[in-house]
Symmetry: C2
Subunit: 208 residues, 2 copies
């Protein structure tokens, strides 16, 4: 599977360029924005290319033209939603290894606590948990764009396994705090959470 | 909300006892089994009382009679699916506090690795992540039947917060390993995972 919009493949479908022009400027961006909203609100299963096209005010054929299949539209949409997370490797690196665990925790919770970046992340989790195609797309994106780069910053055995151990903890906390809203986690002081979790992440990321 | 099947409430709907007899013996159990399967395969949103009744070979009215609303059928179904997890407090207690982290990890992974108990757990996670009513039902069940009892075994500040920190880690690993099937976590040796995670859980569960 590919996480790329795969426009070359789409272009081969050969839709005359004047047709794109007819849709007006920024059609591709409108489609992508509509796709994010549709997937976020309905999840992968209930979202259709037709619905995305309608929300973007374009013809469904143009969605296929730019992105290809529904799976490829989803890939492009979550790649965009994932952009904030893609700088995590830099956050973790930060020169000295000491504090990498806390930096990772603050970075991830910074994204989750942000009302703009949380909904698309929630949508990705929901879709990946309920649809195998969506899970495959997410897996590919994370492996290709995030996991390998994070692992590249680590100097421990099985760096990818270590990175996933750390990530799994943050994912689980996010599920309890932001999705299921289980108390006391849902309303716990973020600093308390970070104080407890940072040493764990630090151990996974740096302890030989 | 209530996590109980609330049969008293349902009984008040007053369906003649002879009608139950007409459905044959074990109708309630058949309905519950059908509900677990339907919710597991379709998730909360796509499951209907009508579909559960059809799968159980009974009249939809009997489902309402025994359990009440769809939400209450779900509550009864996940309470049953949750039964294996309800002995966790005993697993964690086990006398000496030393090793509580490893016992919790082995207990939870024991349930996840079991092909019989995994599907209903997956179904619960999927439903809770995609439907607020399902999340509320799960929250109530966990808080009432599990969290308080686990916390009761701990001798640390904020025992419920500590219990959720430990649980969140295991939930996150389960998501990566069993749901998204992210490598290397998906095929990592379980003993390796436990060796890394147990000390973390031990710290959360016992460190003052």
């Amino acid at each position: 599977m590919t996480g790329e919009p795969s426009r070359p493949a789409a272009r081969r479908r050969g839709r005359p360029a004047r047709a794109e022009a007819a849709e007006g400027p920024g059609a591709r961006e409108r489609i992508l924005a509509a796709a994010r909203t549709e997937f976020a609100e309905r999840g992968y299963d209930k979202t259709s290319v037709r619905g995305i096209a309608k929300a973007a005010g374009v013809d469904a054929a143009l969605v296929h033209h730019y992105f290809g299949t529904k799976e490829q539209v989803f890939a492009a949409a979550i790649e965009l939603s994932f952009t904030p997370a893609l700088t995590m490797p830099d956050a973790i690196a930060g020169g000295a290894e000491a504090g990498a665990g806390e930096r990772m925790a603050r970075f991830v919770f910074g994204i989750w606590e942000n009302p703009v970046s949380r909904p698309p992340l929630l949508a990705i989790m929901r879709s990946a948990l309920t649809n195998d195609t969506a899970a495959t797309v997410l897996r590919g994106l994370v492996e290709r764009r995030l996991l390998q780069r994070v692992a590249g910053e680590l100097h421990v055995p099985d760096p990818e396994f270590r990175a996933q151990l750390a990530a799994s903890h943050l994912i689980g906390i996010a599920m309890l705090r932001y999705v299921v809203k289980m108390e006391p986690m849902a309303s716990a002081d973020l600093e308390e959470i970070i104080a407890m979790v940072a040493p764990t992440l630090q151990r996974y990321l740096t302890q030989p």
